[in-house]
């Protein structure tokens, strides 16, 4: 599927926002991802989707971090360039048919670093469904804080945590969650694995469920190569196909990494 680059600009020193125009109808849920073919690189790269408008001539916005040669080259792709993408990959966050007991009316969205972007599309979806989400967003330092204003513009409570204390609550997101007055009843989270582990443990202590979006090196991104399989309570799961979102109950940490 061909997409045209509408925008590709830095948000911080290492995080960029790219907007692409093309057929986005395959994107059904927040938390699904796309596989972009970057000129000069063999394998596609997986990116979460910040937000999108589903249409044959729709738009999707990716917020990505430069982590290697591929994403560094991506920052130099000009507006107007054509990129090939596979869209609507993975399961995404489930917002409409979660178990009744966990049918949260005030779910907490917990994001870390470049794990924050897909929570924005999720937040919009939850608001459309009449829920009252809140967000806790964690970063290393003030310079790395992204999308705070975007979440605040949705009119939800936003707590920012930085590891060095240069903005918001000092510490990790799990520490910031402990400072919240509102009781925790359901969690949606995306971020680096140590953060997911901490949030998972927190959910365990509080007895609440949640959905966790994982990252893994992928070959194909659509379930063919088995490159990203991880072990879960219910057997091996392909992060690209049965994931990237796993529910609290099925996650096994000891065998990961």
């Amino acid at each position: 599927m061909k997409f045209t680059v509408q925008e590709n600009k830095p948000l911080t020193a290492t995080v960029y926002r790219m907007t692409l125009r093309g057929d986005t109808r395959a994107l059904l849920r927040p938390g699904q991802f796309v596989q972009l073919q970057l000129p000069g690189f063999y394998l596609r790269r997986p990116f979460s989707v910040y937000d999108w408008s589903p249409a044959e001539r729709g738009c999707m916005t990716l917020v990505y971090k430069t982590v290697g040669r591929g994403t560094e080259a991506m920052t130099r792709i000009p507006v107007g360039a054509t990129l090939d993408a596979l869209v609507g990959l993975g399961n995404g966050f489930i917002t409409d048919d979660i178990p009744a007991a966990a049918a949260a009316r005030a779910p907490l969205l917990i994001g870390g670093g470049v794990g924050v972007p897909p929570l924005y599309g999720l937040c919009r979806r939850l608001l459309l469904q009449g829920q009252r989400p809140a967000a806790v967003l964690g970063f290393n330092t003030r310079e790395e804080v992204i999308l705070r204003a975007d979440f605040e513009a949705l009119g939800i409570p936003v707590t920012v945590a930085t590891v060095d204390g240069s903005e918001g609550v000092k510490g990790f997101v799990a520490d910031a969650v402990e400072t919240l007055a509102a009781p925790l009843d359901y969690v949606y989270t995306c971020g680096p694995e140590p953060m997911l582990r901490a949030v998972h443990a927190l959910c365990g202590r509080k007895g609440v469920g949640g959905q966790f979006s994982f990252e893994e090196r992928m070959g194909c991104g659509f379930g063919a190569c088995m490159g990203c399989t991880c072990e879960t309570v219910t057997g091996g799961k392909r992060i690209c196909k049965e994931g990237p979102v796993l529910v609290w109950e099925e996650i096994l940490w000891q065998t990961r990494g």
Partner: protein, 304 residues
């Protein structure tokens, strides 16, 4: 009208394009992108007796013009493959399929081969003695003529179905191994499996793959594969299925000129899920450009 048909051990394929094992699952994921009945056939995910989760992640690393994988034969085990994957496949794929057989002992190869050979959908067995990502099995059997021949003999003893042995390029003399398999009763040979390689992360100073090493595939390996197909196909009387970095209809023609009777496409399926459909659509145009009426006639056209 371009004739793209080829024949492998008495079974005629509409075209020589065969997705390679390990890059095509059991077909399901690709059926979402195109009707896979356009394929000559495909080789399904390498199957062992017991279910295997495979190696720890990361299992994938990119390279220049290619990729490394160290999946390690993840599969649900032969009984599940028969009861679930092949049953499901029968609902949407209506051609004989190639069964990729793996083992950690000669007995296991024979057992898995016998179970899969009994399935009516299975047209050919492709016995993989060349997986570089498992220990104590796979490639261990494909590194010497004697052990490769022993696996071939054991599988030959349990089935009359066409038997192809998939060879490793990680050897000093692939021709001697190919000949040993032919002498032991193989009906054909498939080559090449991936080349053993590695990448190191500059930040952590550790190998990128959890398994440390992995198999290199993609266009980077095409010339190596082509050379080996050229050598082996001239040294044996049985058909050779050529594979390794094939990414276009031109590559298919080139591989056949080197001596391949049919051609497998591997890593390219992972980069472009429609790769095989596009190659098949392109073949008649490429044949016309190079004045080829009957594709099967060009096999070995580059010999001498």
């Amino acid at each position: 009208m371009a004739d793209t048909r080829v024949t492998l051990s008495g079974i005629t394929l509409d075209n020589p394009v065969i997705p390679a094992s390990g890059t095509f699952g059991f077909g399901q994921e690709f059926q979402d992108y195109y009707d896979i009945n356009v394929l000559g056939t495909f080789s399904f995910k390498g199957t062992t007796r017991e279910p295997r989760l495979g190696n720890p992640t990361p299992r994938i690393a990119e390279t220049a013009c290619g990729m490394l994988n160290a999946v390690g034969l993840q599969n649900p085990g032969v009984e599940h493959v028969i009861s679930h994957e092949l049953a499901e496949l029968a609902t949407f794929f209506h051609k004989p399929v190639m069964a990729n057989v793996n083992g950690f002992s000669i007995e296991e190869y024979a057992y898995v081969a016998q179970r899969l050979a009994r399935q009516p959908q299975v047209g050919w067995l492709e016995v993989n003695v060349s997986c570089p990502n498992v220990h104590g099995g796979g490639m261990a059997f494909g590194l010497a003529p004697e052990s490769a021949a022993a696996v071939t003999r054991a599988v030959r003893a349990v089935t009359d179905k066409p038997l192809y042995i998939k060879l490793s390029p990680n050897v000093t003399d692939i021709v001697s191994i190919a000949r040993a398999c032919e002498d032991a009763g193989a009906d054909g040979l498939c080559l090449i499996n991936t080349l053993l390689g590695m990448r190191i992360d500059l930040r952590t100073r550790k190998p990128l793959l959890a398994n440390r090493t992995g198999g290199l595939s993609g266009p980077a390996v095409f010339p190596v594969a082509l050379r080996m197909v050229y050598q082996v196909s001239q040294a044996v009387r049985v058909p050779v299925i050529g594979m390794g970095g094939v990414a276009s209809a031109c590559d298919v023609v080139e591989m056949m000129l080197a001596g391949a009777t049919a051609v497998q496409v591997g890593a390219q399926n992972l980069v472009n899920p429609c790769a095989c459909r596009e190659i098949i659509e392109d073949l008649p145009r490429v044949m016309e450009r190079y004045n080829i009426q009957t594709l099967r006639d060009i096999t070995g056209g580059a010999w001498k």
